[in-house]
Amino acid sequence: MSDGQPEKTAKIDRSCNSLERQECWVRTPDGLRLWSERIGPADGRPLLLIMGAMNPGLVWPEGFCARLVAAGHAVIRYDARDTGWSSSIDFAVHPYTLDEMAADALAVLQAHGVARAAVVGLSMGGYVAQLLALAHPERLSALVLLSTSADHRPYMAATLGGDLPDSPLPGPESMFIDHVRRTVSQPPQTPAALVAAQREGWALTYGGSAGVPWQHIDTMLAAVAGRNREPLAAFNHARAVAASPDRLAAVCHIALPTLVMHGLHDALLPIAHGRDLAQRIPGARLLELDMGHSFMGACDEAVLAAIIGFVAGQAAQQ
């Protein structure tokens, strides 16, 4: 495994430079180093953002974080293991599952001295957030699950191959499966081809009337380019998810105020996943949005409004 180190030349969108920030390197229980930062004042209401698979924490847009800070939050985002500046791992030697990634999220909270936080998980980050909520409910004030599922197996079987699981939930749409299989069978050979494949992949994660936010995608890809020192390590996330069991039964035991948000046009985890998740978690609120799997740069306002209002509502009741 290797430790990522900050590179002075790395590009980070600091368009919200006036915000108070505190970088923090986190040591995980299994000895990895994770990059994290708190945005906003230390006495803000803590809110932890857990990004989806294969992407560093910077994919949470600066403007999105700034709006949460303006609503009174201290926002914490981090590079998951095998992304960004955080440690990368030789998966064959040190395999891991979503349980270790949930332990990482807890370690991030501890490193920032946060006893209790609202937790927002996107896609695979939502899998991690579910496990964190089950293992350490005392550390969460509210749970927001965005474009995620209690059962990743249909997605994994469709994209990685293998037997279709006995699941009540559908796999991704064929256009996305085709993209993944094409990229795997014919990996991009040049930097330009890689960027083209990334743009195509991101575009497929969007949907709904807002369309594909090309400018946002290009800005985001430029911001994270070079931040992943070992880009192929991010594929370990797929291995970790594939090695993890579903949570169909487990999530019924989540005992936290929970908001499930899901795009009506999600091609990766179709809307049935969000509806199923909300139905399984006792008392969960479901919000179906006019968007695809990704919201960043396309549906930020609605997602922000829902998070800000939901978390504030829980805080007012506690």
Binding site: A70, A71, L304, A305, A306, I308, G309, F310, A316
Partner: protein, 101 residues
């Protein structure tokens, strides 16, 4: 956004006009701080009938106002909400936090 303040007995009314968004924060804060400093005021009513757009930063401003008003024993109500403004408030479940009409 333009803001017009009036007061009747223990109720102050801030009539908002225009788009309530991030660049409104200075004028909004100045208006409500004036009202919150009035000892006779017990209730602050924000009249949204002239507002046709509200973004997530405005939600943050409303939460901050609620907190500040609560700290000095005053309540905040939202009135005249309609259309897109009402939709945003619904998405944010603000009816759990404010009296809305």
């Amino acid at each position: 956004m333009q803001i017009q303040a009036t007061q009747h007995n223990d109720t102050a009314n801030l009539r908002l006009n225009g788009r309530f968004q991030f660049d409104s924060h200075r004028e909004f804060r100045a208006a409500y701080e004036q009202v919150l400093s009035e000892p006779a005021v017990r209730t602050l009513v924000l009249d949204f009938s002239g507002v046709d757009y509200l973004d997530s930063s405005a939600l943050g401003m409303l939460l901050l106002l609620k907190e500040k008003a609560g700290a000095v024993g005053k309540s905040v109500e939202l009135a005249g909400t309609h259309g897109a403004v009402r939709q945003v408030l619904d998405v944010a479940s603000f009816a759990r936090l404010f009296k809305i009409s």
